[in-house]
Point group: C2
Chain length 129, copies 2
């Protein structure tokens, strides 16, 4: 078997309550990682695509974050309800989910709209501004 | 700041003693991750290159393993003494360290020589055969 076609890293960093920066895994359950892994398995992609937990990806203001390599697509504010679309669109059809992507200028930037072409939701404003 | 130019994931998975497969982080100290991170900082690459811990990369027989994206270079049996060369050659000069690279046919394969162009050392034979 060759290298993985795609390799997903799900930030599961957990900060102490009251930390200056938000946390991708506030409740310590790493649910997003589990759901993505289960969905990849269920889609029959287990041998071609790996889903790993990672330490802090340093995009805390946009978390929970997921990065997909080798294409280096960064997703921000990923919710468990987004998992099915990431699998179907990005991992099966090869079309990254634009509505979840962090814009290039948002990476390493706490204050930005971080989702191109989409109006900010209250949750996003609250976290990012 | 833009995306990371390179993103290293260091497997820090730790299995229970007596497990069927070996463990990349047998003593639980994640020393390799710490050393790589410190060396990247010391080389002034911190803003361009990220070093993260990851969960099991599933190349346990060749561990400790490190994968470098976006180029998808896989290193196996990485020792703390290899850190300086990875920094200088791969991360500064852009030349992956061939002697540490897992051959394409070794990925997901427990039994292989897994280092092209290099004779097996006793440690490697013991682990892989």
């Amino acid at each position: 078997m060759a290298k993985y076609e795609r390799h997903l890293f799900v930030c599961t960093n957990r900060r102490e309550p009251g930390s200056a920066r938000p946390s991708c895994n506030a409740d310590g359950k790493a649910e997003l990682h589990k759901l993505l892994k289960q969905a990849v398995d269920a889609a029959g992609l287990k041998d071609r695509i790996r889903v790993n937990q990672s330490g802090c990806l340093d995009q805390c203001e946009h978390g929970p974050t997921v990065v997909v390599y080798p294409e280096a697509v960064w997703y921000g504010h990923v919710d468990p309800s987004d998992v099915a679309e990431i699998i179907a669109s990005h991992l099966v059809e090869g079309r990254p989910v634009e509505r979840l992507m962090l814009a290039e200028h948002c990476i390493h930037t706490a204050e930005c709209e971080h989702r191109p072409g989409k109006e900010l939701k209250t949750r996003e404003v609250a976290v990012c501004k």
